[in-house]
């Protein structure tokens, strides 16, 4: 499969269809997989595809530095393709400006599959220009994609509060979650605003609560559960659970799942006369 990927990228670069390919690379066979930006056809040999290809590369599409390189091709897994849909919906990416190479994916993570991959429903990416590889892998039957949240919600409010206090206490406000998230693309983040100061910037429990909860709210109805925030968090905070809980609300109340269908308008900012109003008291 890797040869097919390299060949596809080489053809695209040689033909001048794209100026840059956003792909996975590995400097050292035992080292971590990192994103690479391939601009020369011969460099396609540096592209890798293995179980360590966690990163959601769509986050780089909105970067000024990448945009300045010209038209891009990008490798996406099924989960990454969903965030691309949201970026297109939110006018951050012009779909025709990107050549999307979908990769059939049976999950990343070795020896154990990543948590998100165990409940994955998009092994074959949708809405791509070309798909490489194939897989028979399918969503596990009768699965509950919000099982973690449901389990957590069985606890009492005090226990849950205690849990999050313990988690957020460790947050060092490095903003890696924001940096890696494809949907955190604002020029100036709300946390960096200082007139007025909306969120306390110091790494105290109060400020950490405000930051992490605000970020989750800003992802409500948008997060595609690519799990990157959780993966990169140096403090090991399970941020995905916060986002999953809001995704569950969006699905439960508005039957909406982010990034599944480019034709469905985003749930935030779309009004239907049939929308439930039972939360208004």
């Amino acid at each position: 499969m890797i040869e097919e990927i390299r060949q596809t990228c080489r053809t695209l670069l040689e033909a001048g269809t794209v100026n840059v390919v956003i792909a996975y690379g590995q400097s050292n066979p035992d080292g971590p997989v990192h994103p690479i930006f391939v601009t020369k056809p011969d460099d396609v040999e540096k592209i890798v595809w293995n179980k360590q290809c966690f990163a959601n590369l769509t986050t780089y599409l909105t970067r000024k530095e990448v945009k300045s390189l010209g038209k891009a091709a990008i490798l996406v897994k099924g989960c990454d393709a969903r965030s691309l849909v949201v970026l297109v919906q939110e006018s951050q990416v012009e779909r025709s400006d990107v050549h999307v190479i979908g990769l059939a994916c049976e999950g990343v993570g070795e020896p154990e599959l990543a948590g998100k991959c165990r409940v994955c429903e998009v092994h074959m990416p949708v809405g791509v220009d070309v798909t490489i590889g194939s897989t028979e892998a399918a969503a596990p039957e009768g699965q509950n994609r919000y099982a973690l949240v449901d389990e957590f919600m069985k606890k009492s409010p005090e226990e849950r509060m205690a849990f999050w206090k313990q988690e957020f206490e460790r947050c060092v406000r490095c903003y890696a979650c924001r940096g890696v998230c494809p949907l955190c693309y604002c020029n100036q983040c709300i946390v960096d605003k200082n007139r007025p100061v909306v969120i306390d910037t110091s790494a105290t429990l109060k400020g950490n609560f405000a930051w992490n909860i605000t970020r989750a709210f800003h992802l409500a109805g948008r997060c595609v559960s690519c799990g990157e925030c959780t993966r990169v968090c140096p403090a090991g905070i399970d941020l995905r659970m916060l986002n999953a809980s809001l995704a569950q609300s969006a699905e439960k109340h508005f039957n909406y799942r982010a990034g599944m269908d480019p034709e469905t308008p985003p749930v935030i900012g779309t009004y239907n006369a049939e929308d439930k109003e039972n939360f208004i008291r």
Partner: protein, 665 residues
């Protein structure tokens, strides 16, 4: 340190009764940034305002807080005062210590403390206020009038006569409304058609009036001064430009089984029909539910006989848009349905009166047609069942009105008068007959109104009984009316040949849906709400939208006409200027900061935000951004709530101001 002046009003006793104004003044003086606090009995009065102006100059104030009533009441007053003293009017804030404090509290201690807190909030806000300039918006000097009954006609003619174009939309095939079907009008008994039809003709021919009949409002976009109205012209199947109204088509049409709604079901009409002989425009319409050609493709007689070739069976609904600056709503009323079938679950109807079961139990508008010279009987009073002249007629007032258990709680206002009129019309035509009236109270306030009712009773001999009718049954072709005469304290039973029910007035069908399109408030019954019951009776809370006639509440013809002229007057006041000025408290986008996700564009209820490009001098695209159209923005703040990067903010209600207020609390 800021130089803020705080002016605390007693509002006579309204505030001072509950709030210790003197103590509040002392406490407020301690708030940082407050230069002084001063109290006065009536801050809005001339000496009060003079004091405000003098203080602004003497103390070189940077902002004012007026602690008094609601800004709805006097914000304009104090902004004008500030402007007169050379201070930007948007550096004035009001702390509402009347509606939000003294009127709703009893404990003097607590109310005083709350008043101080409210003032503290306002001081926090005013310190963050920035001088703003009023927004100037271009104005389209054309008016839309919705509904062409007597009120809509009057409003249209007034505006048109003032030299402005009017778009008049009527959903029926002809203008004229309910009044065109009335017989004679109280208290003068002049013929309704004789006074209305010349106005109808004038409306139809007026060079400034663009008439859309058989049309409905589809949607309304934009805001005061610049509305875009989408109108659905329903398929008429007649080419209006060719048709001469000769009448061949409806004379020859073989389908004559449809109930005539202009006669409220008392007669039949053809499938192609003229609404009534005096209709304006005098052009027919094809009822697509009755026409054989449209239903089965066979027949086509009307097209064959039409010398002008005006029949078009292929006609489709047409959507047109019109640009207007002001809207007058005159959608009128309908009658409460007396039978069991109700369109509102709150109403139960009067099954015991047998309306719909006994053909000779009719409602007031049906009686109007029976006594009208253009009606189904040519003006002779003949009952619907067998066409006999009724010798005894019972009129029942307040059917559905003033009865929240069965109908509505309000008084329909015109029934006392028209019932008296009905007895007169009946007695003038059937001299030997008897008119019986059952009433709750006689409400005849108005010029020559009570005299009119007395004439019905004393000169024309109508028999009035104060009491309610409990049941109507039919025996041997007679309607047996059982009732109580509460003045005599006895039960009454009357054998009647016909019964006329004065049923309640309701807003016309679809009024609430239209109100939603226009963003105009309405009450529990669906009557549209005026902006202020005394001082702004024809304005609504949706700027540029005015109301008149029975869509606002039960009303007789003189009142509807007076209100229509008032609404037209308001439109002319608007049109007397070349542009509108609006308060500048609207959204602004920080375009440098905007991430162009366009959540605001999707969310804005007024479509006031658009996608825009920022380009450098060479024309290269620097970035995309959202941009507010100041003419459309209503300052609701939805964009502020939805913007993830906090790039949207409202001038005069900025995030920093709200934060400052919260911090001051």
């Amino acid at each position: 340190m800021a130089r803020i002046g705080v002016f605390i009003c007693w509002c006579g006793e309204n505030i001072a009764r509950t709030v210790d104004v003197k103590r509040a003044t002392e406490e407020v003086e301690q708030i940082p940034g407050v230069r002084f606090a001063i109290d006065y009995k009536y801050m809005c009065s001339d000496p009060g305002q003079t004091m405000v102006r003098d203080k602004i100059i003497a103390e070189r104030l940077q902002g004012l807080v007026i602690a008094s009533c609601s800004p709805h009441m006097h914000m304009k007053t104090f902004r004008a005062a500030a402007k007169a003293a050379g201070l930007n009017p948007y550096l004035v804030e009001m702390a509402n210590i009347r509606e939000h404090c003294s009127w709703v509290h009893q404990n003097r201690e607590e109310a005083t403390a709350k008043a101080v807190e409210l003032i503290r909030l306002a001081v926090g806000k005013v310190i963050q206020d920035k001088p703003l300039d009023a927004i100037k918006v271009p104005l389209t000097k054309r008016a839309l009038v919705i509904g062409a009954g007597v009120a809509g006609i009057q409003a249209s003619l007034d505006i048109a006569e003032a030299g402005h174009e009017v778009v008049l939309v009527e959903r029926e095939p002809s203008i004229g409304g309910k009044m065109a079907g009335l017989s004679e009008t109280f208290p003068t008994l002049d013929c309704s058609q004789c006074i209305l039809t010349p106005r109808m003709v004038e409306t139809g021919q007026h060079p400034n009036i663009k008439l859309y009949t058989w049309s409905e409002i589809e949607s309304v976009d934009g805001s005061v001064g610049n509305f875009t109205v989408t109108i659905r012209k329903k398929a008429r199947y007649i080419d209006m430009s060719k048709c001469t109204g000769c009448g061949e088509c409806w004379n020859k049409c073989p389908m004559s089984k449809t109930l005539n709604d202009f006669d409220y079901g008392l007669s039949k009409r053809k499938a192609i029909y003229l609404a009534f002989p005096q209709a304006v425009p005098a052009r027919p319409v094809i009822d697509k539910n009755a026409c054989t050609k449209l239903k089965t493709g066979k027949c086509g007689i009307c097209a064959k006989v039409c010398a002008a070739g005006a029949i078009n069976y292929e006609d489709q609904d047409e959507i047109v848009t019109e640009q207007v600056g002001a809207i007058v709503v005159a959608t009128g009323y309908k009658l409460y349905s007396i039978g069991q079938e109700q369109d509102n679950e709150k109403y139960t109807g009067y099954g015991e009166y047998g309306y719909g079961k006994y053909p000779d139990v009719i409602d007031a508008l049906q009686f109007e047609r029976l006594s009208s010279a253009s009606g189904p009987t040519g003006g002779e009073i003949r009952r619907p069942s067998d066409g006999a002249v009724p010798k005894s007629v019972v009129f029942i007032a307040c059917v559905g009105s003033r009865d929240p258990a069965k109908g509505v709680s309000y008084c329909s206002k015109i029934c006392c008068m028209y019932t008296a009129k009905h007895t007169m019309l009946y007695k003038h035509k059937v001299h030997e007959g008897t008119a019986h009236v059952f009433y709750m109270d006689i409400r005849a306030g108005g010029k020559n109104y009570d005299e009119f009712v007395r004439r019905a009773i004393e000169k024309d001999g109508a028999k009035y009984y104060r009491g309610r009718v409990s049941k109507i049954t039919e025996e041997n072709g007679k309607l047996i009316v059982r009732a109580a005469d509460t003045l005599a304290g006895v039960p009454v039973t009357i054998e009647a040949d016909m019964v006329v029910l004065a049923s309640a007035m309701l807003p016309s069908t679809g009024a609430t849906e239209l109100a939603q399109k226009l963003k105009v408030g309405y009450d529990e019954y669906g009557f549209l709400s005026e902006s202020h019951p005394k001082l702004r009776p024809v304005e609504t809370n949706s700027a540029g939208v005015f109301i008149c006639g029975a869509c606002h509440g039960p009303k007789d013809i003189p009142e509807a006409v007076a209100q229509a002229s008032a609404a037209a007057g308001k439109v002319q006041v608007m049109f007397a200027r070349n542009e509108l000025t609006r308060d500048p408290e609207i959204a602004k986008i920080n375009e440098q900061n905007c991430a162009a996700c366009y959540a605001c564009v999707r969310t804005c209820p007024y479509n006031a935000i658009e996608k825009a490009e920022i380009r450098d001098r060479q024309g290269n695209l620097v970035k995309m951004t959202a941009r507010v159209n100041p003419g459309l923005c209503m300052g609701c703040g939805t964009c502020v709530a939805v913007c993830p990067s906090k790039s949207a903010d409202i001038d005069g209600f900025s995030e920093s101001q709200i934060y400052e207020m919260i911090k001051n609390l």
